[in-house]
């Protein structure tokens, strides 16, 4: 998708500034995100990658307004999430932001049929925006699952269920789609179908998509991928090129192959030469 196309798309831009988030546990507070700065262009498809437990899903939840950041600002299109009330966040999710959670069972009513799930999703929309069964069939057709309309969710395969979950999520034509691990339960064939579905949604509708994944194939399918590690955005990759991201506090997360040469507590010296920054290991006994 070109820059012009992105600017014209109906998708929302997502901007995070100096985002901190803490979880309270019995053992004390745990920092999930620290000083995250992030911008997702409208109509862009971005993958958040990185090891487990590093804050990806938390970041996704914050974007979806499921909970409020401890500090920092986050805006989704016109919405300033830090200032939104719970009711406004709910309204935002009903109209503009859709989420597909990890484990497709959580995205669908297990006892209902495919069509009933779409109806259930659409019922959250304000009445004027509801389009009815014709539209539901169109959405299903877009995901190539129209033949499953009357099937019970319980009878679907993993891949089918995931596509139904996407269909249910986008039935209200959201501006932002937040997806968590869409391929984690799927076999190779189903993965391809899901990735195709995501891509087509992004390209066809211009919906901004943020997807959390461990799957390189999904990350590749996204235009840009951001690596989240230790609650920070460590690097960004696009078009096969990865760049480190310097944190607001100047922190830099070095890639693994560099760390093999710079074990923890190594001393380095920095030199600035024009546009270049030279990082040199210093061998000195403490």
């Amino acid at each position: 998708m070109t820059k012009t196309e992105i600017e014209d798309s109906p998708g929302f831009e997502v901007v995070c500034r100096d985002l901190f988030h803490l979880y309270s546990t019995a053992e004390g507070d745990v920092v999930a995100l620290r000083s995250v700065d992030l911008k997702v262009q409208a109509g862009e498809m971005v993958a958040l990658v990185g090891p487990s437990g590093m804050g990806k899903s938390t970041l996704l939840g914050l974007m979806g307004g499921l909970f409020a950041p401890t500090t920092g600002a986050i805006s989704v299109g016109p919405y300033d999430l830090a200032r939104l009330s719970e009711r406004e966040k709910i309204r935002m999710r009903s109209i503009d932001v859709a989420m597909v959670l990890q484990n497709s069972r959580r995205n669908l009513l297990p006892y209902a049929t495919v069509l009933e799930n779409l109806a259930f999703s659409e019922r959250a929309l304000p009445r004027p925006r509801r389009k009815g069964s014709q539209h539901w069939m169109e959405v299903l057709t877009n995901f190539a699952i129209e033949h499953l309309a009357t099937a019970s969710v319980a009878s679907l395969s993993g891949g089918e269920r995931q596509r139904v979950a996407f269909a249910a999520a986008v039935v209200g034509r959201p501006r932002l789609l937040l997806v968590d691990e869409p391929t984690s339960e799927l076999d190779a064939e189903a993965k391809v179908a899901v990735i195709d579905a995501l891509r087509s949604l992004n390209e066809r509708d211009g919906t901004t998509i943020v997807v959390v994944t461990h799957d390189p194939a999904v990350a590749r399918a996204a235009g840009r991928s951001l690596t989240i590690r230790d609650g920070r955005v460590g690097s960004q990759a696009s078009d096969g090129v990865e760049h480190l991201v310097v944190g607001r506090d100047g922190a830099l997360q070095l890639p693994r192959h560099i760390l093999e040469h710079l074990p923890p507590h190594s001393l380095v010296a920095l030199q600035l030469e024009g546009e270049r920054v030279i990082l040199e290991r210093v061998h000195r006994e403490p």
């Binding site: 979880y23 309270s24 546990t25 019995a26 939840g61 979806g64 499921l66 909970f67 009711r87 709910i90 309204r91 935002m92 999710r93 009903s94 109209i95 932001v97 859709a98 989420m99 959670l101 069972r105 959580r106 995205n107 669908l108 009513l109 297990p110 006892y111 209902a112 049929t113 069509l115 009933e116 109806a119 259930f120 999703s121 019922r123 959250a124 929309l125 009815g132 069964s133 014709q134 069939m137 019970s152 249910a168 339960e185």
Partner: protein, 1048 residues
Amino acid sequence: MQSSAQLRISMLQRALRHRASATVALFVASVISFVAALSGPIYLSAAQSVALHSIISSSSEASQTLSLTPIVTGQPPAPKTVTQAARLLTNDPVLHSWFPHFTFTYDLGGTLLAPGYTPFRDDIVARTQQCEHLVFAAGHCPDGPGYVALSVRTSKLFHFHLGSKVHYHIGSSRVTLTIQGLYNVPSASARYWSNNAYFPFGSTQPNAQIADDSFVDLNYATNALEARFTDLVQASAISFLQLDRIHVSKVTAFQHELTRSSSFLVTHDHYEVSTEMTQVLAHGLSINATMGFIVEIISIEVIALALLSIYFLMSRTVDDRRGDVALAQLRGYSHWGQLRLLMLEPLAVIAAALPTGVAVSALLTFLALSLTHTHVSIPIDTASVASLLAVLIGATLAVTLGSLRTISGGALAPSGGEQQRRRSALRVLIADVVVVALALGGTVELLSGTGHVANSGYLALATPFLLTLALAVMALRLVPLLLRGVIAMTKERSRVTLFLVTRSLYRRSRSARFIALLALSSALLVFAESAWLSSKNNRVELAALSVGAAHVISVDVPQQTTLVSVVDRLDPSGHHLMGAIIEQSNQGNTLAVQGSRMLSVMNWQSSPSIPSLKAIKADIDPSEPPAAVFNGGYLQATVYVDPHHAPLSPTALELLYRQEGDQQFNQADFPRLRPGLHTYVTAVGGLCRPGCSVSELAVNDLGSSASTPSSSTSQASIPSENVRLQFAGLKIGHSAAGPWRTLPLSAHSATRWLSSAPSGEAGSINGVGTFGVRMSFPGVQPGLEIGVEPRDIPTPIPAIVASGNGSSSQSTINAAQGALTGLDGNVFNTQTKAVVPTLAQVGTSGGLVDLRFAQLIEVQPQLGTIDQIWDNQTKIGDLLKELHKLGVSVTNVQSQSAVLANLEVQGPFLASDYFVVAAALAVVIALMSTAFILASSSAQRSAEISFLSTLSISKKRAARVIYLENAIILILGMIVGALGGILGIKLALSSIPQFSSPPPGLTLNYALSSTLIGATVLIELLLLALVGRIGVSLIKRRALGTLLRSSD
């Protein structure tokens, strides 16, 4: 393509099917809630109506009729005038519904006359449909002027028969009518006769001094009556109450309307409207208040339990639906949308349960009322609808609360962490403290309100429930503390099952709050069944106390035989019949029974306040026979005739005696007296078996007539002052040669024979003549009047004394210990062997003696005697036929079962039958809640069991873990429940007036049935086995599923 609405319905159906077990459980709980809500008011309303029927039925005619009398004097009131007034009332819809048909009555106060008899007061009644309430034994209803219908009793009294002419005095005129019909009075409880003067208040026996009403044709009264009778005629329009139209909810409207109409008619039309219905209704309403307390105390428990059950089920269902809520939150459903989503299913189930609940409650109420053999309509009145709405709101609130809890908890957002858990624990602690405090408050209120139903508020009513709940929450808090010790013990041991079970229970102590449902339902079951059993046992005991045997038949024994011989003939073995006589006296009634038969026949349930039959028999039936009863064939008199004052003509002693139970006198003639001290022997013909009583002693001049003592005593040929006899004693023996037994008769003074027990002192007689034989007993003042027929009284009669308050000093029979004017006006002694609160047939003031003594003392009862035959067999048809064959007429039959049936429709007893309904509901709740708990716990543990399987724990052992864990939960719940139930019984029942102050003689019996508790345990254990089995198979399936999922 399905429409949106169709999709919604289809989705709802799928959702309900998906959560089938929760749906069914919620449906059952809702049905029970509605049943509890409806059946209480419906039953109460129906039972109150039944109790009113019972009260009204047993009240006087004045209470059952609305009488309309024109306020006129001097002229006979025209029937048309009364008709107009009746029509006025008939047009009043409220009054008309109670009193639909007016009849006209002329009531003439008169006197029934018969030759040689004292005039008896009588009422001559003329009324339309006058014979509707009469059962004719002969003839028919009077059908014209000059005819009358009399009762069989009156006709016997005056020796009338069909066709006889009877005479009445009405005012100063004499009227002669011909008997055209003879009717029987069915019983004292029959509507017309109930509490009529014919039956003295509280008595089932007709008043001997009043003749029954005589009925004449209405035309006779209206047309043939002479003008001079006018002042004596009371004309009125009367309408009988339609009992089947009475409903308690309409009482207030009726009373209001009656007052208004009465006032209007008196003011504008000069009619007097009179009825005693309002007083009866007021009495009925006060009894109904007690009924209300009894029904409310149990229905509130059931409603509370059912609502709690709904709340628990909702919490469980909402937990199941956390995913749905999370999805709704994810999709941006508003709070209202989420609430709708969560509440739609349960509300649909509750709505579906509503008609079922209504139907089931109507059915249960009908069945419960059928147990009392009472057929009433099942009313759904305002109270029922209000109660139903209250429960509907309560159930909706429970659903709303459960839903809000989930929504506000944030199904989608991560948990609030430790702080939220602490807040939640604090909330639970506060709730527990509140429950305990409420339970204590309710207990205090209940105890302080003992005996005063009106003082008991809803907190008191809910106390049994709250107490059990408090016990349950305390037990749940204690269990983890106890388990800690067990966990420590199991740590070092190789008992894996125990290890797992203790840890699981410890971990689940919060979720095990579900056992409160089991405990509450068990408590309710124990409470309801025990209360019902208590009521049932107590009314059976009360019926037994008031009747005395299965049947008590009042009889008239022909003169040629005796009661004892009739009984001996019908039941020679003494297995099922007993003779008894009730002597009625102003000082109290005395019951005399055959001591030799009482053990086999009398129904007497001993209690702490009432000795056993065996003990009573030993008291009143001493092994030694009464000393002064003639029991032998020969009499021996020892007389000293002063030679200086010996009679000139031949003189002899004669003794007049009478065989027991015989009206005829016999005469024993002694040989001619000789001067000096001699012993004279005479035969009494062997008749004195079992005994004779002395009547008179005469010194006869054999020179004159000696045919009978009365005739022989008129004149003596020797002046009395010349005759001097010294009486040295009288003895009786079985042969002329003895041995002899001294009779307690002696000459007390020169002119009086007196008895003096036991030594037989000597006395003297001056002159020839008849001398009454008088008795002298220790402590009795001498100087009794001559002419009173003597009785041969033994030494003090052993008696059981009835005294309502259990104090002998209050007893009539024992008022003057040692001597009193007894049953028949004679003096006798009693020796109180025991004091009991009440006696069958006698009540709370009277006594019980052996029949032999009673027959000895019977001469002229003050108010009469009633001969009775007591029967302990359930069917008496054959007995009545046998009595008929023997010429014994039956005047009344009292049946213990009839009394019991009557008690069953009396307020509190009737109300206690609702406990059967409550127990049935408790059983359903117990089964459902137990099944729910076990299934829920099994389902929750499937993942854990699958994990155990990976640790090489066998399925058998895993199943054992579940069985053991559930068994512990069940037993804990049952123990807590049983304790709660027992506490509830002790506290709540003692607040019911009937139980806190039972009738005299009825010792409150809290029936804690071990059979019932055993059955409860058995049912729940069977359920445990069944559900455990299902749970284990469920777990195996789920565990396999979990393993498969984890390997994806």
